[in-house]
């Protein structure tokens, strides 16, 4: 009885490359190149990958903070017919924005320094004409309490708060309109570890309290392992593997996932960092290699990998941890290592 909240099919976002005096269109940076996934109500889906893999573009396209080039994004509002976010008019989009919110990485850049905390958190309420002035003020107090800030600091400006507290302000703002889906883009990456743990706990707690669904974009695999139910791994604009967190991290099926996991340093001196030979750099999405984009860096690659793009296939599961899908020609033959080896 899965209850889908978001169904993304074949999402693409191309940024045109223009050259010369006439700004001739010479090609595209395929930031997101045919990504499909679904998100269930109340779950946390992690999006991981190296910089430039398109995880942020995917997250932003879902909210239409970036206009996708093509594809469909169906959003299922509770008890209503699904709507395709990409087809909505301005007014329809405005309504939907209440249901979908975003938390940003940089708590210094995402809050207006000239607005007080009260104004910042109140702004979404004001935009949507929620309640009277007095009710709005009460709601701000309530929201601040929910995220663990003392409402008496309401009239202060963001610069008087620490990084962790600012991130809480950003979360309060995102919660103001009772959203169903929150896209958290590197929401804890800029925080110190002790503060990061506090904010992660808050994110988990709010999910239970308000039945939130998260798309959690992060590059820190440890954090993703801790808070996500399912994880999607991206590589140059495409998803290469999607699975339940434990299944993905214990028995990855894509060589890229394996290499990524092997490169994560652990806070454990007995663990020897034996990264897989992953030579070379992340390939620039403007010059995507043929076939499987990972093949130039992959140690298992053969002729087939360079020639044909692998399709997403479902992996037969030994246990019933939910579905595991991978886009690799050789996943059946490969015995890959996960985080425990």
């Amino acid at each position: 009885m899965t209850d889908t909240i978001l169904d993304v099919q074949d999402l693409r976002k191309y940024f045109p490359v223009k050259k010369g005096f006439f700004r001739r269109h010479v090609g595209d940076v395929k930031a997101v190149d045919g990504v499909s996934f679904t998100v269930d109500r109340g779950e946390t889906l992690g999006l991981v990958g190296e910089s430039g893999c398109g995880k942020t573009t995917t997250g932003r396209s879902v909210l239409r903070a970036i206009e996708p080039t093509s594809g469909s994004i169906r959003f299922f509002e509770n008890g209503k017919d699904p709507v395709d976010v990409t087809q909505l008019t301005k007014a329809g989009m405005r309504h939907l924005r209440q249901k979908m919110q975003m938390i940003f990485q940089d708590p210094y850049a995402s809050l207006n320094p000239r607005m007080t905390v009260e104004e910042i958190v109140k702004e979404p309420l004001f935009c949507f004409g929620v309640g009277t002035a007095r009710e709005r003020r009460e709601r701000v107090g309530e929201l601040l309490q929910v995220v663990g800030l003392d409402p008496k600091y309401m009239s202060r400006y963001p610069h008087t708060f620490s990084g962790g507290q600012r991130q809480r302000i950003g979360i309060a703002r995102a919660l103001a309109l009772h959203p169903d889906l929150i896209v958290a883009d590197e929401a804890v990456s800029a925080l110190d570890v002790s503060v990061q743990a506090q904010v992660l706990n808050l994110i988990l707690e709010l999910q239970n309290q308000f039945h939130l669904t998260y798309i959690f974009i992060a590059h820190d695999i440890g954090v993703v392992d801790h808070i996500c139910d399912r994880v999607a791994v991206m590589y140059i604009g495409k998803m290469v593997e999607v699975a339940g967190t434990k299944s993905l991290f214990r028995s990855p099926k894509h060589p890229y996932t394996e290499a990524l996991l092997s490169a994560v340093p652990r806070p454990n001196p007995h663990y020897e960092l034996k990264r897989m030979v992953l030579e070379g750099e992340v390939v620039d999405p403007a010059h995507r290699p043929s076939g499987c984009a990972f093949h130039p860096r992959c140690r298992y690659a053969d002729g087939l990998c360079a020639a044909e793009t692998p399709a997403m296939e479902t992996v037969p599961q030994e246990d019933s941890r939910g579905s595991h899908a991978v886009a690799c020609h050789h996943f059946k033959e490969l015995q890959l290592k996960g985080v425990f080896r």
Binding site: G163, Q165, V195, Q198, P269, L273
Partner: protein, 340 residues
């Protein structure tokens, strides 16, 4: 560890910033030693003074900060020199800076000149410190670039930083810092801005170069995973002081200071079981206090779960030597104090 030779000894180092808003005591008496060819991890959260300690060694503390007390003894050319006593424009300091002690920074884009080729920037490090002609310097630069794993170094030497990826730029920084074969390399958050796959490559590179060039590394970082991977000893800093010092294995397996312990527990770890999955993480209560406030007693006491009321908030703890490689600054380990 102690049978090896010391090459750096910092004692009671204090750095203060006299700003309009008030006096910031960035370093409040740092003691640190470094042995030949070892890697020392200097860890802590933002504002703890780890970068300031590293910068003090090269006397590149930003204005209006100044060293108000303490010494930084550096063993070079067969004798001990106190870096804090050198004149800021002196030849001796210039000879140490960049030549005997190299440094790599977090953001390779802002630390490289955008208008010079990477080859000329690496060569400059050499011509500044040694009497070599330009041709030799350029050849050496290409050699260094290929040593740090830049493919096709000869032609890449003519590239500008903006033409390179973050990982490649960081390699250029390393090449620059190492051209003069320094005795100490300070890596200040050197891999923080990089992707994990590239980070792993750079960490491997640093370890390889350390073996080849026989240098000591001070790895300044907040990433406990990086520290565990590359350092033999760790110093943990909190608010301008070193609160614990031990071998890497001891720090991670048996942390003594409540701050170290709490810090380790707050990092999400891969667990074999699902029992911790999506469960609340251990946290350290409260925030790092702002730099203008001077807390009485142990600076960690307001956030500490093991504090002894009436003692920790009044008396400043001394560094207690548990045995020759372990030191901790905490009242819990004082003789006669309660231990848990």
């Amino acid at each position: 560890m102690s049978d090896r030779n010391r090459i750096l000894e910092i004692s009671d180092l204090k750095v203060e910033f006299n700003t309009k808003e008030g006096l910031v005591k960035a370093l409040q008496g740092v003691d640190l030693e470094l042995y030949e060819q070892e890697t020392l991890g200097l860890v802590g959260e933002s504002g703890c003074g780890k970068s300031m300690t590293a910068r003090a060694m090269l006397r590149i503390i930003p204005e209006p900060g100044e060293i108000t007390a303490g010494s930084i003894m550096f063993f070079v050319n067969g004798q001990w020199t106190d870096i804090t006593k050198l004149h800021i424009d002196s030849e001796e300091l210039r000879a140490i800076r960049g030549q005997r002690i190299g440094m790599i920074f977090q953001e390779p884009m802002t630390s490289l000149s955008p208008v010079h080729t990477v080859g000329s920037q690496v060569a400059e490090a050499l011509t500044l410190h040694q009497t070599v002609d330009r041709k030799t310097a350029n050849n050496r630069a290409v050699e260094m670039l290929s040593l740090v794993g830049i493919p096709d170094a000869k032609s890449r030497a003519n590239s500008y930083p903006f033409e390179m990826s973050g990982g490649m730029r960081q390699r250029v920084m390393i090449a620059m810092a190492l051209t003069c074969s320094p005795n100490i390399l300070i890596a200040d958050e050197a891999t923080t801005a990089l992707d994990v796959t590239i980070q792993a490559q750079i960490l491997e590179l640093l370890q390889r170069l350390q073996n080849d060039m026989k240098m000591a590394i001070i790895a300044v970082t907040h990433n406990l995973g990086v520290v565990a991977a590359i350092s033999q000893r760790v110093s943990v800093m909190y608010l301008g002081k070193i609160v614990e010092e031990a071998s890497t294995v001891d720090i991670f397996d048996d942390p003594k200071h409540p701050y170290t312990e709490a810090l380790l527990l707050s990092v999400p770890q891969f667990s074999e079981t699902e029992e911790h999955h999506r469960r609340p993480l251990q946290t350290i209560e409260g925030d790092i206090p702002d730099p203008y406030t001077q807390l009485p007693g142990c600076p960690f006491h307001p956030r500490c779960t093991k504090r002894i009321d009436g003692h920790c908030d009044r008396v400043v703890p001394e560094m207690i030597v548990l045995h020759d490689t372990r030191k901790v600054r905490c009242h819990l380990y004082q003789q006669g104090g309660t231990t848990t």
